[in-house]
């Protein structure tokens, strides 16, 4: 997985607002897709500011799902 970082939360190398973009490969066909984020662990936080979703268009299909 590639990780693109604009700052370092621990080292604070660039200082100021800290942010990073984390990439995740996906696979599989879909007509509709639902995305979900969750954080279940004690003492652990979560804050998601944006998403960029990449997909490829396939054929128009009447095939039953």
């Amino acid at each position: 997985m590639a990780t693109f970082l604009l700052d370092d939360a621990t080292a604070g190398v660039l200082s100021g607002a800290q942010f990073k973009t984390q990439a995740q490969d996906l696979a599989g066909e879909f007509r509709e897709i639902q995305l979900r984020f969750y954080q279940s662990s004690a003492s652990q936080d979560m804050e998601v500011h944006f998403l960029e979703f990449h997909f490829e268009w396939g054929p128009i299909s009447m095939e039953d799902r």
């Binding site: 990780t3 693109f4 970082l5 604009l6 700052d7 370092d8 939360a9 621990t10 080292a11 190398v13 660039l14 800290q18 942010f19 990073k20 973009t21 984390q22 990439a23 995740q24 490969d25 996906l26 696979a27 599989g28 066909e29 879909f30 007509r31 509709e32 897709i33 639902q34 995305l35 979900r36 984020f37 969750y38 954080q39 279940s40 662990s41 004690a42 003492s43 652990q44 936080d45 979560m46 804050e47 998601v48 500011h49 944006f50 998403l51 960029e52 979703f53 990449h54 997909f55 490829e56 268009w57 396939g58 054929p59 128009i60 299909s61 009447m62 799902r65």
Partner: protein, 467 residues
């Protein structure tokens, strides 16, 4: 011919909704798609760009649990006494189990000040001329004065046995008297301990109309009187004295929508928010649109309110304006139980406001009662529990509950078809813009059509900078 590869930026454009539907069938415009609602937003707060952020944890105010009667903290209150020496005094008061307790300046120790009250009644607290007034829905217990010396005594001046009161235009106003459920009482001028002398009196508000007075609030130089819980109505009391050129006058404000109880209503900016048997409302909007459902604050979650809460205990709800974070918060019991275990949270910094829940899918602090208390002069949100504790909630940095308990913060989008369900698509990748939190993961899940959800661990650590 559509391009083979698509890149879509998804941004947060709305809050939790149960009623819009499960899917968003909108095509991206110029590579961007605003998500106007969420299928779930549990145990989260919104950042101002709409980003979901796991709500803060909870810590106990009192380390030792109150143990009397049911141990339930039915209600609590931050009392500030101004005195005459130029130094104010802060006391907290709580009605828990069968007793009234005081605490000095948030020091964490509750001290019993009165015992032998009826348990599990709905209390109210209000400050009036440097007296804290406690009253409850008990027909046995009479209103109490809570003094700056942390002493409790029967409220003087022969008051009626009211259930709730309000300080308005230099008088104490009260209602909720069982024998006269539609009667509004007021004290003598500048004396909340004189209910029989000159200047005191009462006003009947449409007696025997099928409702009782359930709510009173001083608002914009008038006293707003809400009736309910069956037919519903609002009334306005204008004027400053029983007689004279500015005599008290009552006018009907709205009919068809009213209040479920006294503690579910509160001021927000120049408006009043309140709970009714049908949802949550703004008084300003109600004045304009009446009981028109499109104008309800909780329009996006109307069916959740109607179908998934225990309506037999709606009249025990608490609501509070957590202005520090721009939130209106109400606590209710989910269907199937009587213990209040879900907060419905309305972020009014957005227009329209955005809803979230605390405790819907994953248990959070079970907030039986709510109040904003000042800790070191900062207004913070606290909850009274059924376990004898008052707990700070929502803004505690450690995302855990007392004892290290975990809870799940979750944001779930609707199903997306990117403009067509006729065309098969193949997922390739997602790029998540995160605020790094630590060397641990969040979970990202995708549900493709009718398949089971697939999950991925996403690191939230800082890592190394671009090189």
């Amino acid at each position: 011919m559509e391009p083979k590869t698509a890149r879509v930026i998804l941004s947060w454009g709305g809050g939790w909704s149960t009623d819009i539907g499960p899917s968003l069938t909108v095509a991206p415009q110029n590579g961007a798609l605003v998500i106007p609602f969420l299928q779930s937003a549990d145990n989260i707060l919104y950042e101002l760009d709409g980003a979901p952020h796991k709500v803060g944890g909870s810590t106990r105010l009192n380390a030792t649990a109150i143990s009397v009667g049911t141990n339930t903290v039915h209600g609590f209150f931050d009392a500030w006494y101004q005195g005459t020496s130029g130094s104010e005094t802060q006391l907290e008061w709580a009605y828990a189990g069968t007793s009234l307790f005081s605490m000095t300046s948030m020091n964490g120790t509750w001290t019993s000040q009165k015992t032998g009250l009826e348990d599990s009644k709905q209390p109210s607290f209000v400050m009036a001329k440097d007296i804290g007034i406690w009253a409850s829905t008990s027909n046995v217990d009479v209103p109490q004065s809570l003094s700056t010396a942390a002493a409790v005594a029967n409220l003087g001046g022969s008051p009626p046995n009211f259930a709730f009161a309000e300080w308005h235009r230099n008088r104490a106003w009260a209602a909720g008297v069982a024998a006269n459920p539609s009667r509004l009482y007021y004290s003598a001028n500048l004396d909340p301990e004189d209910w029989t002398g000159a200047g005191s009196g009462s006003i009947d508000i449409d007696p025997e109309d099928g409702d009782r007075i359930t709510f009173i609030k001083s608002h914009k130089n008038e006293l707003i009187v809400g009736k309910g819980p069956n037919r519903g109505s609002f009334h306005r009391i204008s004027g400053s004295s029983p007689t004279g050129s500015d005599a008290f006058a009552r006018s009907v404000f709205v009919k068809g929508l009213g209040t479920i109880n006294h503690n579910g209503g509160f001021a927000v900016a120049d408006d009043l928010f309140f709970a009714s048997p049908r949802g949550m409302h703004s008084l300003n909007t109600t004045a304009a649109f009446g009981d028109y459902e499109q104008a309800f604050l909780n329009l996006p979650i109307l069916s959740y309110f109607q179908d998934s809460l225990n309506h037999t205990v709606l009249n025990q709800c608490w609501g509070v304006n957590y202005a520090t974070k721009g939130l209106a918060v109400w606590t209710f019991a989910k269907a199937g139980g009587t213990a209040k275990n879900i907060c419905l949270v309305y972020d009014y910094r957005f227009s329209p406001g955005r809803w979230a829940s605390w405790g819907r899918n994953s248990a959070y602090a079970n907030c039986h009662s709510l109040a904003v208390l000042q800790l070191n002069n900062v207004h913070r949100l606290y909850a009274g529990l059924t376990t004898g504790y008052v707990q700070r909630i929502a803004d505690v940095a450690d995302r855990s509950l007392p004892g290290g308990g975990a809870y799940t913060g979750e944001a779930k989008l609707p199903f997306l078809n990117f403009g067509t369900s006729a065309t098969l698509k193949t997922a390739k990748a997602v790029f998540l813009g995160l605020l790094p939190k630590g060397n641990y993961n969040l979970t990202f899940g995708t549900t493709r059509d009718t398949n089971a959800e697939e999950t991925y661990a996403i690191s939230q650590g800082g890592g190394n900078t671009l090189g």
